[in-house]
């Protein structure tokens, strides 16, 4: 009995079938992401080649003329949305984690999460029926009184369906994403850092500035990027709210607004045929590239400022 056990190699981890199966499943799942992304990129490239080499119908006859205003509109609308959403989201997250009483904080957190569950069509309806009408008098006032600022130098839209209205709707849509992630990050701030700051006589705001924000900086960036991805790709709400044209214009109160890539695809794909389909898919490829660039940028920013490194 004893000799038998001694002759065997000692304590080798047994390869259980469950382990093997689980490893295989998770490996396949991991690779399937890469394969899917690769196939999407492949499809976009193959389908968009005819539009890039051929002549397009309509006012823009080559692909670059066609796609540049769209790419501009996509980035511009998302940028305006982020300008509104990021400060508000960070403030909400700080309020929930550091200022609000516990009960109120969890109630607000719940409502914010609910915002993320509202379908984009509903946001579109809201933007179209409520926000645009609400903002119209403001646009008229700005056109009359503030036209020396280039942003407001145009004829005010008669219906309020401007890029700024679209950006407001987008901001509300990305708000829950950024807030929820920032809240998680701020909760992770080491209590020791916070207490140390307070013990050194910092006010609560100084403590947040010295301990919480540096610690959460990379978290704010990465949550903003997730939100930005959403804003760049949002389709239905923008299609319903925005009055699109083929222009590159920074004016945010007129009815000539640059269209976004995703909304342009949604509006024109149903009736498109022939090379127009290729052009639309080509614009999708450009959106894909923009998204990849944005995500890469975020990676670089986060790596430069690793999670714990901020607090000095």
């Amino acid at each position: 009995m004893t000799s038998e056990t001694a002759s065997k190699p000692k304590l080798r981890a047994q390869r259980r079938p469950a382990d093997l199966v689980f490893q295989a499943v998770s490996t396949i799942a991991g690779f399937s992401i890469l394969i899917t992304l690769g196939l999407v990129a492949f499809f976009l490239i193959i389908q968009s080649i005819p539009a890039m080499v051929g002549e397009l119908p309509g006012p823009a006859d080559n692909f670059l003329d066609y796609v540049i205003p769209l790419a501009f509109g996509t980035v511009w609308a998302a940028f305006l949305a982020m300008l509104m959403a990021v400060p508000v989201s960070v403030s909400i997250a700080l309020f929930i984690t550091h200022f609000a009483p516990r009960k109120l904080a969890s109630a607000i957190g719940f409502v914010i999460d609910l915002l993320a569950a509202v379908p984009s069509v509903v946001y579109g309806l809201w933007g179209m029926a409520v926000v645009s009408g609400f903002m119209r008098p403001a646009y008229e006032w700005l056109a009359a009184n503030a036209s020396w600022i280039p942003l407001f130098n145009g004829t005010a839209s008669g219906t309020g369906r401007t890029v700024f209205t679209a950006a407001i709707v987008l901001a509300v849509m990305v708000l829950p994403i950024i807030t929820a992630l920032c809240r998680e990050v701020f909760l992770q701030t080491p209590t020791l850092h916070e207490e140390a700051a307070l013990a050194l006589g910092a006010t609560r705001w100084e403590m947040i500035r010295m301990a919480v924000l540096p610690f959460g900086a990379s978290g704010i960036v990465s949550s903003s990027i997730l939100g930005l991805g959403r804003a760049l790709g949002e389709t239905m709400a923008v299609a319903m709210v925005l009055s699109p044209s083929v222009v590159i214009s920074f004016v945010i109160i007129s009815s000539s607004n640059p269209a976004t890539i995703a909304s342009n695809i949604a509006l024109n794909f149903p009736e498109a045929h022939g090379i127009s389909v290729n052009a639309l898919i080509g614009s999708g490829l450009v959106l894909f590239v923009i998204t990849v660039l944005v995500n890469t940028l975020a990676r670089v920013l986060i790596n430069r400022n690793p999670r714990t490194g901020g607090a000095k």
Binding site: P57, G58, P59, D113, A116, A117, P119, S120, V121, M128, A129, G133, R136, S157, G158, T159, R161, I177, A180, E184, R230, T235, M236, A239, M240, L242, S243, P244, S245, V246, V247, S255, S256, A259, A266, L267, N268, F269, P270, E271, A272, H273, G274, S276, V277
Partner: protein, 365 residues
Amino acid sequence: MKFTKLGRVAAIAAAGALLLSSCAANEGGGDNTDDNGGDETTSLSGTLNGVGASSIGAASEAWVAGFQTANDGVTVNYDAQGSGAGREAFVGGGADFAGSDAVLDAGEESALCSADGYPINLPIYISPIAIVFNLDGIDELNMDAATITQIFKGEITNWNDEAIASQNEGVDLPDQAISPVYRSDDSGTSENLADYLHEVAPDDWTEEPSGTWPWDGGEGAQQTSGVVDAVSNNIGTFGYMDASRADGLGTVALQVGDEYVPYSAEAAAAVVDASPIEEGRPDGDLAVQIDRTTTESGVYPAVLVAYAIACSSYEDAAKGELVQEYLTYITSEDGQQVAEDAAGSAPLSPTLRDQITESISQMAG
């Protein structure tokens, strides 16, 4: 703690997936309202798949319901993916028939047609396009095509402009800026309106007609509902839409010859009668070339005509018989009435219906 975090991330991911999936365009699926109570059913059976224009989506739902009630064994699907998609599906053999706002080019072929068959276009749906506006206390205005175009292009910017006033003596036009509203999506309504304005006022509407709006400066709105919303919720707006949706808004009577013709179902059907069939089309193909510049009395030339595109003879004879029966039903007086009730279209005139019936009867089953 870790699990809550994971759970939150998963919840966000799930919510994101939900949101993304809700972005899919609304697809009007014809629902299969099989009515087993119908006692007069035929021996027909099989499945018929159509793809095409969304303009006939509402009418198609009603047609499918009516046809399936009468023919218990038949299932008809109409997928309103758009005219272009419909034509492509038909040519490639993916759909048994197509619905389209524009005719199939002469010489195109379909994998579905038999050796001596060829694609034919049959007008099945006529919809007047109403040019609408929203001004307090004014229900109707007279305009010629040049004025309409100049408003859409932003060259006439105020309702009290001389060009409008001179055509509407006695109407008290307000000092109010005009906000032109157009369809921001690619649509057959835009294309047919553009075609009308381009034919009648080529010096003003200089762009080739297409489904996308060529002018800057107007207000874009998505689909008919978006245009209705933008026009009716703002004062001084000016737009165009399927006439069936124009209730409650002011409408424009178009100048035809020396008179101004308000839209009506009869006037819209009349312009199709007054128009010739495109030259060089094979026997049975009714590709109507709408005569937008007609000066005949009582016709309304801003119409959208949707066609059914089918084979004159199908490779699969059983399929051919089904298509034949279905087209007979939708172009019948009964079928046209159903479409008028469901979608507000203008019924085909008796003259045109006779021509269509003849074409359909020539289809080899």
